[in-house]
Symmetry: C2
Subunit: 258 residues, 2 copies
């Protein structure tokens, strides 16, 4: 077993050493709105590869989502960190973030259109294998990728990290064609048990292929070191839940993007 583990580690090491991650800012539009996303890929990978859409937190597209995109690129995917809010709209305060995210939470049609616009960019990239695409999202972005699923998007899977699970149109879960993985903090005060229960019932009623992982002790924002370490605030980083949830995503991708 140790020999095996060492062998795997060496292979991964070799791959990482050869990785040549490149990034670029991509301007695109949804309707009349200018958007500015961030593409990441590994130049050492030849030809088409699976694509992963990354949807940002309520603070808008920033360094956090970009870092996740680069990490996915290192793993061999072509990743596109979308911009839901619009070029230059990058909330600086919680109030601004609440205002911006509130626009899309209240208008799920617009939310879906914005995620879809990003998906179109990713799919349109020649490096992307259009048939092997998944979407992940953090907090607000988790809500976005679940709405993408409810829109009936023809993708392989969506992953929500500490995302909001509520929707005003739960009956639309019947449109879901992809696999759904929800990674949730067991002590997340922003996504209470009633929301989790309602989500399970929604998935169940629609016969979706869904999985829910609850990380005991984790609160909202558990994957982002910028969340700090004070769990009593209801938002805090949890290194263990971060690592475990990333591994769960990798196992999910190994299944749906193979």
């Amino acid at each position: 077993m140790r020999i095996l583990a060492l062998g795997v580690a060496m292979l991964i090491g070799v791959h990482a050493a050869n990785a040549a991650v490149r990034t670029k800012v991509v301007e695109y539009r949804q309707g009349n709105t200018a958007l500015e996303g961030y593409l990441a890929w590994d130049d050492a990978v030849q030809g088409q590869r699976p694509g992963v859409l990354v949807v940002h937190e309520w603070t808008g597209l920033g360094e956090y989502a970009k870092a996740r995109a680069r990490k996915l690129a290192e793993m061999g995917y072509v990743a596109f960190a979308v911009d839901i809010y619009g070029k230059g709209i990058r909330p600086k305060t919680p109030e601004e973030a609440a205002t911006q995210s509130g626009i899309y939470k209240k208008d799920r049609r617009l939310m879906r259109a914005r995620v879809q616009a990003g998906l179109d960019v990713l799919r349109g990239n020649p490096m992307c294998d259009r048939k092997r695409v998944a979407a992940i999202g953090y907090c607000f972005g988790g809500t976005c990728v679940l709405e993408l699923a409810r829109s009936g998007a023809d993708i392989a899977g969506v992953v929500s990290f500490h995302g909001g699970l509520d929707t005003p149109t739960s009956a639309e879960a019947k449109n879901i064609r992809c696999k759904v993985l929800v990674l949730h903090g067991g002590d997340d005060p922003h996504v209470p048990r009633k929301d989790v229960d309602a989500f399970e019932d929604e998935m169940r009623a629609a016969g979706v292929d869904w999985q829910l992982v609850i990380y005991g002790g984790a609160v909202h924002g558990f994957t982002n070191p910028a969340s700090g370490h004070d769990k009593s605030r209801g938002v805090a980083y949890d290194a263990q839940a971060d690592r475990r949830s990333w591994e769960a995503m990798k196992a999910f991708f190994a299944e749906v993007l193979k």
Copy 2:
């Protein structure tokens, strides 16, 4: 990525080809009761290795738990499939299984003593690295390994596959020293939401390192092909949930038995 995956597969293939799984029946005792377990290991592995205890379903120690033990041996562990009921007590009907499992469900002290006796056999084996031991259990066996955790056993982790989560002594969760992973079918009628909620509350109140994975669409007994395929009966095999839950266990072991 494909090269990496191929490399990993080759290594695993090489390992499997070299695997020389051996098994033996082990007679042991708990108090005055004779028990008969089943040890599995790989002769190709040198020296001490992590140990995994396997606790059977309500039908008692049979081919299913033994097959899981052999699979764990192929992975490099030394595995011991315990006997909770006693030598020769192997229920043939659901009624007999209910009677036997009922004895231990009603007497959790005895249940814990029987699991502990198996753990002692595993730990006492010279191949076993005493500091790296985990326990897994199926259905009734899931209940058993959770009780082992509640007894304060000094092991690295327990994994319950579609196990019963209720306990008459939830306050004893404060004794738990190991990590806990519960793999649960989202439509399991034998472990209803109220039990899952109570379990979460129990773990939360005790500050346990716990994780719960819910597999949408899976019912009771989802890992055992012998459960059949009629989900309307509330017990059925689910190949996808079987595979996913085994992978979740492997990821957990990679963390707790490293």
